[in-house]
Point group: C2
Chain length 204, copies 2
């Protein structure tokens, strides 16, 4: 019997969307459970480490979006062919995770003075540095983040772009044609395109 | 011919130490290149994403300590037996990464007011929450972070503890007997113990 999945996440893209893309890509038996509010805001669900997303696999709960994405990638033939190929995918994924964390650390900074001090370095140094490097990486890998072919790393990076654009307030990928093209290609993969066409309106 | 490794990192534990533990564990042919100062402080080396650690594998440079640790783990028989076992290791690793990032975000916060506001939640909520969960995880997995046996995830968590204790200023693991025992066991693995006995004095 095929595995049965239930994804618990907010009604937005961010950390949940790569998992949704993977479940859609694999035509898995899955349910997209979306929360309108913060988890601890009344709609509390029991999370192993107090966080979302949670993926239930045949009723057992798993957390950590990157770990979950790598797991689904390995089941769906979207891993590397050997450890060195997997290292290339993981390096791209962790690098993207780094700049995403920097953007989040700025956006969610509750101290106005501290947040203001982060704005210029983030916008003029960190974002251009990371996204230019990632764009070059995609260019040098035949349009993908690693190994010249589609992997779970491509879906991992494409999934949260809408959310990151929402945080910064502009189209992050506009200056980066290779990354931009990759995201469009991922969104055009038939099963993913079908999921996107049918999904609820994301808050972000 | 066996692979030749050169690890470039600061003269401290933190993100470099899990990689050193893995290279020592595998009795690899490796060189431990240590920098006394910040990378951009004169001792600049060319890093693919402007960061350390860098692992050179047969002269080719790789970054991202988690990706590198997973790669070495897979070469050294320290991965899981199947995708679900690997998910369990990756989940523990990413969870440890989360609390490490929260400690670093507090310690390195350049805004005194913002830093002060983080102290109480970090010390009384975040650290106890994460370390208690990790301790329970180790307890429920026969003394290891996953699957009831040693994996690269155990070395990954044991490596940076000295650094994290330095950041917080106290023995983080004192209240967590299962984590404490795990770290001692990793440090007592013969090849790792040999490396620890012979290494230079870490700055942190």
């Amino acid at each position: 019997m095929p595995d049965k999945y239930r994804l618990h996440y907010f009604d937005g893209t961010a950390l949940g969307e790569p998992i949704r893309y993977l479940l859609a890509y694999g035509k898995c038996n899955w349910e997209d459970v979306r929360y309108k509010c913060k988890v601890d805001d009344g709609n509390m669900i029991k999370a192993p480490f107090g966080q979302l997303p949670i993926l239930e696999i045949n009723g057992k709960k798993f957390v950590q979006s990157t770990a979950i994405s790598r797991y689904l990638g390995s089941l769906l033939g979207l891993s590397g062919a050997d450890p060195l190929d997997n290292l290339a995918i993981d390096t791209a994924v962790d690098t993207f995770h780094d700049i995403r964390a920097q953007i989040a650390s700025w956006y969610y900074d509750p101290n106005p003075e501290s947040r203001a001090a982060k704005t210029k370095p983030l916008m003029t140094v960190q974002i251009p540095f990371y996204f230019k490097k990632l764009d070059e990486l995609v260019q040098s890998n035949g349009g993908y983040v690693a190994n010249g072919k589609l992997s779970w790393g491509d879906l991992y990076i494409a999934g949260p772009i809408k959310y990151l654009n929402f945080l910064v307030g502009f189209d992050l990928l506009q200056p980066y044609p290779h990354l931009h093209k990759l995201v469009k290609e991922v969104e055009a993969i038939p099963h993913i395109a079908e999921y996107i066409a049918g999904k609820p309106h994301d808050l972000w």
